[in-house]
Symmetry: C2
């Protein structure tokens, strides 16, 4: 059941979405008014309220679309994959590629605006990925040094933080390279020969 949407509605919503994203490149989200969005979209302010409760509602709809798109492009497909610290999972690489493609958007939401709704969802995606990785470990009866909830929060936050750092610094390394470094950090750690293991 695909409910048919009036083409005028589609067009109108698209125009409001573009207008807001456009304005967000120029100024802080909180300083943007509904009147400005209407002007930029060449539509009427009253029309805005036919589609959205308020400015936040419009932004949320934009974010939901983007998150759906990200979620989809990161869905686990049946891939041949051998776990190895220097061979990151292909979906992890895809995540960095997606962010490179839509760099401006991700930079705005995760870095400049630091949008909590968007950021938390990206964190959730990363958490699932990290949990899948450790589940893989558990099959081998690995012993942990640190409570599981802490190590999950640790690795997830590290991934998210480095991604934000990477966006903030204008993508200083390519996608695959980033995926390798993060996979390394969370498996063998930062050292070639860990000095803490010689005790």
């Amino acid at each position: 059941m695909t409910t048919k949407v009036d083409p005028r509605v589609k067009r109108t919503k698209r125009m409001f979405e573009h207008a807001l994203l456009d304005l967000m490149d120029e100024k802080e989200y909180k300083k943007i008014t509904v009147l400005e969005i209407a002007k930029r979209s060449t539509l009427n302010r009253a029309t805005f309220y036919l589609h959205y409760f308020d400015k936040d509602d419009l932004l949320e709809q934009i974010l939901d679309e983007a998150l759906y798109d990200l979620q989809e492009s990161v869905k686990v497909k049946e891939v041949e994959y051998k776990y190895d610290s220097d061979n990151p999972h292909p979906i992890f690489i895809r995540l960095f590629e997606k962010m490179t493609e839509r760099y401006k958007f991700y930079h705005t939401m995760l870095v400049r605006e630091n949008n909590p709704y968007f950021t938390e969802y990206v964190r959730k995606i990363l958490k699932n990925f990290v949990e899948d990785g450790t589940a893989y470990m558990d099959r081998d009866n690995v012993q942990y040094n640190v409570p599981h909830d802490i190590s999950i929060a640790y690795i997830t936050s590290a991934y998210l933080g480095v991604i934000i750092w990477w966006l903030k610094n204008d993508l200083p390394y390519p996608p695959k390279y980033m995926a390798v470094q993060l996979t390394r950090m969370s498996t063998v750690g930062p050292f070639v020969d860990n000095p803490y293991l010689h005790s």
Copy 2:
């Protein structure tokens, strides 16, 4: 040179600060108005503008005070300290203790409001701490697997993220325990016997 401040001014500012923190326990920051702050403080709205440009200015002054306090309590004093993965640095423990003492405040700013100004400053404090730790390493001519900027961002984000997770989950572990776990994670990693090192 300590410029004398009129006791009425001190009192007034204290009252506005308390009023805002009080209101922030009850509702979202962005939904709080200057009139509400004035009413809650039992002061006049015009008086508010004698001391602050706007609501954000008041919040920033509150945050600056708290950050100064945190910075001070985490200043490196000459302490006898032996580096060891299970013996966290005393200032690191003090950080968790400080947050336990002022739990409500840190929870509001770092978790509920997710205030970027405050969060970034706490990140900066953690980054300094992490950099001091790795400088310690460099003296021993340790070889790195991963670019230095990435591993700094990785560990700093992990620390910050776990602290926020810990606050969000109502302090499930005591300060010293947390300091040990994070130190362990960033040195020997989460595993008792790292499976990735047997290749």
